[in-house]
Symmetry: C2
Subunit: 269 residues, 2 copies
């Protein structure tokens, strides 16, 4: 097999499943090539992806000589995405009665979801999260995209307990916007014990929902390692969960005003 | 730039966004290489992916000389996936009271979602679907994975109309399992006019939900081009929607019985 053919196969294997360990020994056997050749290919792929800011190829020690791809978003792509989103989000026809923001189109856009998922995965790849948790409904697509790039399962917290979830743990929380007691429930067997949870959601105002998820997760002897939201509001400045990460911040949502949108400027920490 | 470096970049561009047109002219300019060299690289990538059954690279005529990747699942990967899923789904601890099947873990598993999304996209890539529609909640991750590979938006039908959806169209349908009148609603501006809808859901018994979605979609002067579900039941044999495609079929779900599971055998049509 020619080197260029090997390279196509290795890039495909790495990219198809981000953050999933690939055994070079198994690949070598599958394609009938020397493992040392594959190692050289991986070194070149690593150099090219790093030069482009498009990912890091991590070599894992131990049996099999595994490698995995940690995706990154090239700086230029992120800036284009931020600029495009700020424009789309500030369209005044998005204002809904009661100071809500229409985002269903954006939260269903395949390229937006892909980019947001990659950005969240990049930001939290050192958090050791082993599960992404979201609350139904609008945050689910974002949570799925993030879980794909982190290669961890996604668990959906429900507003009410359905028979198809099996036994579930239910708790109450006080919603921020309506000041009402609400319930949320999580399937008992969906979340692994001692899970390290990344909360992903579409929108955060005070953070009451994320705080509710956090309390619920603690009932499973699990911990929250981070909170990522697509859009947060500038007010209130103090949120109910520690250090939430938001891609975008919107100003006061009032029917008479323009919508002010800022992208997170210091994305890379 | 060496050929192997170019190839890494072209494979990455193709794989990152399946079914999205990439301009070779733009790539050539970005990397300062000849477009003819990139065309040769694409030809080699096409040959390797086709030999592996991992995708088709389509060249588009017209301005820019675009190419796109139509992903496919290699036969062997599909068979391994089917065998693994049949085993996981037939685990008798999945039986829930009332003859329901616990699947939340599977429907949140990143590798299952990725594989199901690729299989649905492969199966419906000639359907001309330009939007994936699902009903909240459990089918959303599957719908998102499918929409990613088809590179189309995903629209979520809600059980009740929320303020954040903006103006919505609401209709009623009779649920199959409970024989009750239920409502479903879809955001008016989420679905494009004359949409060609692929319905994706996790589970189908009689198909009442899919039929409800189908009626709702028709109110938008749109049409349903296909219905894809993860699991269907062997009974009733006649479903309420034409030719639904299911990855898996389960037999009678009763607490005393074993769970019978069959994978779709004639996957490629």
């Amino acid at each position: 097999m020619r080197r260029s053919e090997r390279i196509i196969r290795v890039v495909r294997a790495l990219q198809e499943r981000p953050n999933q360990q690939i055994s070079l020994s198994e690949l070598a056997e599958e394609y009938g090539v020397a493992k040392s050749s594959l190692s050289e290919d991986v070194a070149l792929i690593r150099d090219v992806l790093e030069a482009d800011g498009a990912g890091t190829v991590v070599s894992l020690t131990g049996a099999g000589g595994g490698v995995l791809l940690r995706p990154r978003v090239p700086e230029r792509d992120r800036q284009l995405f931020f600029a495009d989103m700020c424009q789309r989000l500030s369209d005044s026809s998005r204002l809904l009665p009661g100071g809500f923001l229409y985002m269903s189109d954006i939260l269903g856009d395949a390229s937006v979801l892909d980019m947001a998922g990659r950005l969240f995965a990049e930001r939290f790849q050192d958090s050791n999260a082993n599960v992404v948790v979201t609350v139904e409904t609008k945050g689910i697509p974002l949570a799925c995209a993030t879980a794909h790039y982190l290669n961890v399962p996604v668990v959906i917290v429900r507003r009410d307990h359905k028979v198809t979830d099996g036994a579930a743990l239910t708790a109450h929380y006080v919603s921020g916007s309506e000041r009402r007691i609400q319930t949320m429930s999580i399937s008992k067997r969906a979340l692994p014990p001692e899970a390290r949870v990344l909360i992903v959601d579409d929108f955060m105002k005070a953070g009451a929902t994320a705080k509710g998820v956090s309390s619920l997760v603690k009932e499973f002897a699990s911990s929250v390692v981070g909170t990522a939201v697509f859009v947060t509001t500038s007010e209130p400045t103090g949120k109910l969960v520690p250090s939430p990460v938001a891609l975008f911040t919107v100003g006061q949502l009032e029917e008479e005003n323009e919508i002010q949108v800022w992208a997170q400027t210091d994305w890379r920490v």
